[in-house]
Each structure stands twice: as C-alpha cells, then as structure tokens.
Amino acid sequence: MSIYLEFAKQAFRQRFIYRLNAYMMIVSSFLGLLILISVWKALYAGKTEVNGITYENMLQFLVLNMAIQSLIRSRIGQKIGERVENGAISLDLIRPITLKGYFLADQIGENVFGFLFSTLPAAAAAALLWGFAVPGEPFRFPLFVISLLLGIALMNQINYLFGLLAIWLKTAFFINFITGAVISLFAGSFVPLWFYPEPLYKISLLLPFHLVSFQPIAIYLGKKTLTEAGLIIGGQLVWMLLLLGLEKWMWRRAQTHIDVFGG
C-alpha cells in the first residue's frame, strides 16, 4: 500500500512543480510589466505628454510590447552558431534550407506556448487593471497582424544571420550578447523610438530592427495612418528579401571559407 502512496506523492509533486513553474512564469511576466509601468508612471509625473506621446499611450505600448516580445523571441542564431562551433554545420551545408525551417518551426512552437501560458495571462491581468483600447478603424487590426507576422519573420532572419557570423568568429557564445545589444539599441522596444535623440532616431529608421516590433505596435496604437501602415508592411517585405539575399551570399562565402580549412 505504501508504495502506491509513494507513487501518488511523486505524481502530485511533479504536477505541483510543473504547475508552480507555470504560475511563476506568469508572475514573472506580470512583475516585469509592473516594474516598467511604475517606472514610466514616475517618468510622466507632472507631464501630460512628451513628444506627442501620453502616459496612456505608453501604458498600451508596454502591455502590447510585453505580449509581442514573447512571440518574437528567437534563439535561432544561438542554435546555428552552436552547430558551427561543434562542426555539425558541415553536414548542414548540403541542405541549409531544411535545417533553418526546422529551427524556425521549433522556435514558433516555443513562442506560442510562452505567449499563451505566460505573457497573455499577464497582459490580460494588466488590461483588466489599467484598461486597454482596441483600434477603432476596421482595417487597422488586420494591418497590425500582418505587420506583426512579418516582424516575427524578420526577427528570426536577423537572428539567423547573426548566428552565421560564428563561421568567421569561431565561437557561438557572443551571439546572444551582440544580437541583444544591436536590437536593444535600434529596435525601440525598451525605449520607444519616439523618445530617441534625432541622430539615433534617423539611424534606427535606416536599419531593419524598428520594423520588428516597434512599428507594428505604432500601427496598433494609431500613431501611423493606414497609408503609412501599408508603407511599413512594404518596407518589411523589402528588408526580408534583402536579408534572404544576404543569407545566400553568406552561405556562399561560408562554403569557400570552410573549404579553405578542409571542411
């Protein structure tokens, strides 16, 4: 009898830890949001708007941004970099496309899980607490969704290209740091681009990173007209094509580069 009790205890414990982990993830997401909201509230103290952005706009931005960040997370660069480091890449050189597709599918599955069970509940709680507005114009929301999907594709592509750098740098450890640095600086997800000093703002617009999550959110919040939203989506498509071309070129260079080392 006691052995069955032990089984039951084990089963309960596993369930419990798993559940606890899931709840903790939601709490973590919510905490992160609470910190940001407190900070922005303190920043806006005694101000109605800064650069045309009100505190209410910023609240919406933070909640949306948190939910979206979990969807655009990408570790593809890290994965491909590790394969370069341990030499598995030489096998992949024959079929680069399938490997990328596999990583992409894996990443999307992971992100959707994180979104549904961690950031979405936290965002819903925040929306209940602080209120949340849905775009009024009927076309705005579909445009936002299209630009968000393209943003996810862009992010993974960018990440992948950073991962390929491991072929030349001989290590994969740098990837997350470099990608993180470049994206935080130019993507406008930690400090929205509205608040950037002019020179940095101009540079950011010339690079693809602002199209990943900042511009889709700007479309949602009505900070862009529908025409501008169309232009953003066009820009995302152009960048996507450019980066796919860059990937092809890098692979070609990589092949000769790896040949030099005798495979």
């Binding site: 993830m25 973590s28 935080s184 608040f195």
Partner: protein, 266 residues
C-alpha cells in the same frame, strides 16, 4: 582552513586557462561589454528625455546602475558557476563526487568554478561609476572612497547570497529555474530609484528582499539625498552589515540543504 593556498591554485589555473584562448575571450568580452554599454546609453536617453525620475537625473540613475552591475560582477566571478549549475550537478551525480572530496564542498566549488566572464561587467560598471562621479562632481575623499569600496563588497555579498539562496532548493526539487528567474526579476526594480515605486514595494525591497541596499541607499548617501523614501533611518551605511548577515544566512541555508540532501542515485 589550511586548504586556502590550494583554493588559490584553482583560481590561478582558471586564469591561466583563460590566457590560452585569447581570440574568443576578447570577442566574448567585447560583445558582453557592448550589451551593457547599450543598456547604459538607453537609460541615459530615457531619463534625459524626461529630465528626471523621482527627482533623480540621468547620471544619478546611472550611478545606481553602476553599483548594481559592479557588485553583481564581483559576486559573479565566484558564485555564478557553482550555484546556477548546482541543479545540473546534482542530476548528473557530479555533486556526489564533490561530496567525497576531503575539502569543504562550498569552498571547493567556489574556487574550482571561478568564472572569467565578469571582467566585461566590471569594466563597464567601473567606467560608468567614474563618469557619473565626475559629472555629478562628487568629492572622492578617503572617507567616501572607503564607503564606496565597503558598499561594493557588501553589495557583492548580497548578490552572492541570492545565488546561494535560490540554488539550495535544488537539493529538494529538481526544477527551481522559475524561482531563480522570479527572484532575479525582482532585482530589476533597483535599476531605478526606489522612491519611484509604491511604498509597499519600497518596504519589500528593504526589509524582505533587501536589494535596495545594493545601490539605492548607498547612492542616496553619496548624492546627499538621504531622507527621501518611506524607510529612512540611517540605512545608507548598513549595506556591508546587511551583506554579511545575508551571506551568513545563505551559508547556513546551504549547510542545512546539504544535511537534508539525499543523492539522486545516478
């Protein structure tokens, strides 16, 4: 305690090993440093655009950042590897092997797993602090300098205690990563002045999880802002004491964890 020279040897070995791989070490150090530098720039941009947060200007907020990052780096050298990888060591049975050695497992792990990855954090943090001290025209007389050093050591002990406290539950449950991330998420609060938050959070970060001692209270003292905030006895000078008390508590918790530990049998 006669083992101390031996522990020193372990650390030396690590440093020598690092010198061997010069190429990647520099790439890694620079890429990490670039990430912290970007963070610093963004905090500056944000606070500068809004002029201040809770009455703290951009360089004052960056002083908080520097104190936090520097003490984290000091703790990270010795405590990151031994304690963040503890669950994995327990799972693989490597920890059992450590227990059979005739050395104190705590000190042994500390010295064998010395991490060389924190020079970039420390470099950026000290640079940021120096720039802030210059810009804010803080006088660095011997008294203030001693205060700063003691604060960093105390802060490092607080950060080290965090690594230990969050890892010990691995002796009982296999997965503790959510607990670790939760505690470290809470630490994100101290990037900005404590007075920016609701009073309940101020109390939480002073009395329950004393993260505010890492940077906020010492910075208050240095900037002559003492007296703001909910909890204001003469706390700025308590950082080293809080660090020591917390660290002793963490070590006792670790000891307790080991006595209750039964191998996974792998």
């Amino acid at each position: 305690m006669d083992y101390f020279p031996l522990y020193g040897q372990f650390v030396k070995m690590k440093l020598k090993g690092m010198a061997q791989f010069r190429g990647p070490f520099w790439i890694i150090t620079l890429s990490k440093a670039s990430l912290w530098t970007v963070e610093v720039c963004l905090i500056w941009i944000l606070v500068d655009r809004f002029q201040s947060i809770a009455g703290w200007g951009p360089y004052e907020v960056l002083l908080l950042y520097g104190l936090n990052l520097a003490s984290y780096a000091l703790a990270g050298f010795f405590f990151y590897h031994p304690f963040t990888y503890l669950p994995r060591r327990i799972q693989t049975g490597e920890f059992d092997e450590i227990l059979t050695k005739p050395l104190n497992p705590f000190l042994y792990l500390l010295s064998r797993e010395f991490s060389t990855g924190y020079f970039s954090n420390l470099g950026v943090a000290l640079t940021v602090m120096m720039v802030c001290i210059r810009k804010l025209e803080l006088s660095m007389d011997p008294g203030n300098l001693l205060f700063l050093v003691l604060t960093l050591l105390g802060g490092a002990l607080i950060q080290a205690s965090l690594f230990i406290f969050t890892s010990v539950p691995a002796f009982w449950m296999v997965q503790n990563n959510s607990l670790v991330s939760l505690v470290f998420d809470l630490k994100e609060f101290v990037r900005y002045p404590l007075t920016a938050y609701h009073w309940t959070i101020q109390i939480l970060l002073t009395l329950v999880l004393p993260f505010a001692f890492i940077n906020f209270y010492p910075a208050q003292h240095l900037l002559g802002k003492a007296g703001e905030g909910v909890l204001q006895p003469g706390v700025p000078l308590l950082t080293p004491l809080v660090g020591i008390v917390l660290f002793l508590g963490a070590y006792a918790f670790w000891k307790f964890g080991i006595t209750r530990y039964r191998s996974t049998g792998s």
